[in-house]
Amino acid sequence: MIRKTLTCLLGMLMATTASAEWALNMPKGVTELSAETYDLHMMVLWVCVAIGVLVFGVMIVSLFKHRKSAGAEPASFSHSTTAEVIWTALPVVILLAMAVPAAETMVKLEDSRSPDLSVIATGYQWKWHYRYQDEGVEYYSTLARPSLEARVKGAAVDPFSVDNYLLDVDRPLVVPVGAKVRLLLTSNDVLHAWWVPELAIKKDAIPGIVNETSFTATKTGTYRGQCAELCGKDHGYMPIVVEVVEPEAFVAWVEANNGSAEQFANNQ
């Protein structure tokens, strides 16, 4: 156990040097808005770091200088209107400076108008169902078999031997690169949430309500996420995989799945 822990700690140190950006921070993602979200996140983080350095700095200086063992004599002041006005007003200014860019991104995030492609994603306990609104393709997307075998208690299969353990599905959501994809989210039973960090999208799937969100992936690739709203015992086992492909490959994929990509081609 101890050896395993040590290996683990050592492994972590090496992992952080190898893929520091990925393991420690929010991904920049592959949409314009995910990059904006990342920038907002970093901006607030650095503002917090700056305020932290300032406040903790003053505090640490005080802890060393104003200690009884260093012979400090207590002052007797108990307030300072000037200081209090400054440290009430200044934060308001800083907050406003952060709120404005955040609000601008929010407006863009909410704009799901004129999509190139609409997919209805329905949450089930515990899988996702995708229906391409105009292409006539629909299917369930469930946890891939290798993960299924390794996930049971006391399984013979080591999770480390499974590629993308718990983050792989039998049939991913396939979308074309550069197309604005509108997701219409709902649920068949309890609450679920559709989250893919690289797309910077998280939206609840709620029974009786259709939620709307959209994304435009700018890079082909496979992006993985998970259900993000507790939905019962297998909440941890309903991943989301989005495959972003070239438009031609998408058209071929639709045809191969007995659908028609005519509508999508018209929209393009």
């Binding site: 822990t5 683990c8 700690l9 972590m12 990925w22 393991a23 420690l24 929010m26 979200t37 907002l40 607030v44 983080l45 917090c48 305020i51 932290g52 406040v55 505090m59 005080s62 802890l63 200690r67 009884k68 400090a72 004599e73 207590p74 002052a75 007797s76 108990s78 307030h79 300072s80 440290w87 009430t88 308001v92 952060m98 709120a99 955040a102 995030l109 208690k153 006391g154 399984a155 999770p159 480390f160 499974v162 353990y165 983050l167 039973d189 609450l191 989250w195 910077a200 998280k202 709620i206 009786g208 309500i209 993000a228 709203e229 507790l230 019962g232 015992k233 297998d234 909440h235 941890g236």
Partner: protein, 535 residues
């Protein structure tokens, strides 16, 4: 006859506690009830902590090693309910019971019998809640937030969950009424409201929050109950209801609840930092206004827990701006504590160490709170381990450290002896190191994409989870040092009435240990002692 009456009167004058079990069962004494609250909450702290260790054991490595997913979900749910309603809230009520009458010069709480009742409801409520672990279908597993429709899939435990939440609410409401009436009616003559010690002030505000929101929670869970058993459809879409409405109602309770758990902590820390800085609290009045502003704002920010449910853009903007605004009064608090330390003459006994760690680590939790207010970023953080890191930073090194600080600060007043300072410092350093080892890596896990409330995870999250689990074991074991301190609390040297180096406040004018009855008659004391805040 006359003699008999006189005798009876004399006996009444100095009667001590009853003997044996009856003392605790029937007591109306604020000190006894305070002690019971504190012992109860410490017990629940260990029960909830044990559940946390089950969670962290399972999460130490990828794959399922110890428990099944449904039991894992029960553990996260029960851990939260036990810690929030069983550990943190009753612990602050315990401190309030002990200290508020002594700080305002009152002989007891205003409503002593109700005080007894509001305590004794709690063991019953938690007896019911914990018994659900042994019911068919298992303990509640839908998270402490009890979101429908999932919560309606709970087994036999469901009505017991609702009933126990009702009981906890009744207990809290009675406690809150008692505290309000005591503070408003029973202050000693010269103590005007604005001159009250900060702990009393923050508790007065907290008690009003409790009065305002506990009935809302009771209403929400009652609607769940009727949805389940009486054919209503408040939250069922199939019957024309709205599952999201539950979240609005729940968080209208839930967000003030967050401040119910932190405002008294602010009060405790505002008592301790001046004492060990040997300097009056900086900006006492603005501290009061800041606490009141936080309480007001807590009512208009609830939907920041729900940025992913699909709210209108304007709604999201309102809740973002209102939430960011909370940073202003909270900042004032932190700055004022630093202002109190500045040019003081500090010493670092255990209560001060815990209070200082509180200021550092609560502020870190505040920073991640500010980050969570930024809606686009929140869409990434929401329901991830980043949120888990955030609220544990404000609750563990926030509320719990303040409770520990308060316990060490007032322990000599309660027992009449100095506790073991060496063990106290050991407890502090172990807790502070391990609390960060446990919760800091969770920020990274959340940012890297790990959702909360999952029993198993992808292998790339393995390393930080292992670290967090090691930290959790360490933190859990460190709390045994606190038990050692308590068990040996009466073995130290005798404490003086003041205990510390000229602390201010009425509680330090009575002997240590505090007599069973204090301030039987109105006190006339030196104003500079009784009212340390700019007399």
């Amino acid at each position: 006859m006359t003699t008999a009456v006189a005798d009876a009167h004399e006996v009444h004058d100095d009667h001590g506690p009853e003997k044996g079990l009856r003392r605790w069962l029937f007591t109306t004494n604020h000190k006894d009830i305070g002690t019971m609250y504190l012992v109860f909450s410490l017990t629940m702290f260990f029960v909830g902590g044990f559940m946390a260790l089950i969670i962290r054991s399972e999460l130490a490595q990828p794959g399922l090693q110890f428990v099944h997913p449904e039991f894992f979900n029960s553990m996260t749910t029960m851990h939260a309910l036990v810690m929030v309603f069983g550990a943190v809230m009753p612990a602050f009520v315990g401190l309030a019971n002990w200290m508020i009458p002594m700080q305002i010069g009152a002989p007891d709480m205003a409503l002593p019998r109700m005080n007894n009742w509001s305590f004794w409801i709690l063991p019953v409520a938690f007896g019911i809640l914990i018994s659900t672990l042994f019911m068919p279908g298992g303990a509640p597993a839908s998270g402490w937030t009890m979101y429908p429709p999932l919560v309606l899939q709970t087994g036999d435990a469901f009505p017991f969950l609702i009933f126990s939440v009702h009981l906890m609410g009744i207990s809290s409401i009675m406690g809150a009424i008692n505290i309000i009436v005591t503070i408003i009616n029973m202050r000693t003559h010269e103590m005007t409201l604005i001159r009250m010690p900060m702990f009393v002030w923050t508790w007065l505000i907290t008690a009003y929050l409790l009065l305002a929101v506990m009935p809302v929670l009771a209403g929400a869970v009652t609607m769940l109950l009727t949805d389940q058993f009486f054919g209503t459809s408040f939250f069922l879409a199939a019957g024309g209801g709205d599952p999201v409405m539950f979240q609005h109602i729940f968080w209208f309770f839930g967000h003030p609840e967050v401040y119910i758990m932190i405002l008294p902590a602010f009060g405790v820390v505002s008592e301790i930092i001046p004492t060990f800085s040997r300097k009056p609290l900086f900006g006492h009045d603005s501290m009061v206004y800041a606490a009141a502003s936080i309480a007001f704002l807590s009512f208009i920010v609830w939907a920041h827990h729900m940025f992913t449910v699909g709210m209108p853009l304007t709604g999201q903007m309102f809740f973002m701006f209102a939430t960011m605004l909370i940073a202003v009064p909270t900042g004032v608090k932190v700055f004022n504590w630093v202002g109190t330390m500045w040019r003081g003459s500090m010493t670092f006994e255990t209560p001060m160490l815990f209070a200082l760690a509180f200021v550092f680590l609560f502020t870190i939790g505040g920073f991640s709170g500010l980050m969570l207010a930024i809606v686009p970023a929140d869409i990434q953080y929401h329901d991830s381990y980043f949120v888990v890191a955030h609220f544990h930073y404000v609750l563990v090194p926030g509320s719990i450290f303040a409770l520990m600080a308060g316990a060490y600060y007032w322990l000599p007043k309660w027992t009449g002896h100095m506790y073991n300072e060496w063990a106290g410092k050991l407890h502090f350093w172990l807790s502070t190191i391990f609390v960060n080892v446990t919760f800091f890596p969770m920020h990274f896990l959340g940012l890297a994409g790990m959702p909360r409330r999952i029993p198993d995870y992808s292998t790339q999250f393995a390393d930080f989870n292992m670290i967090a689990s090691i930290g959790a074991m360490g933190f859990g074991l460190s709390q045994l040092v606190f038990v050692y301190v308590l068990l040996t609390a009466k073995q130290g040297e005798k404490a003086t009435a003041e205990v510390w180096d000229s602390p201010k406040g009425l509680e330090w004018t009575v002997p240590s240990p505090a007599p069973y009855h204090t301030f039987d008659e109105p006190v006339h004391v030196d104003r500079t002692v009784a009212f340390p805040q700019n007399p």
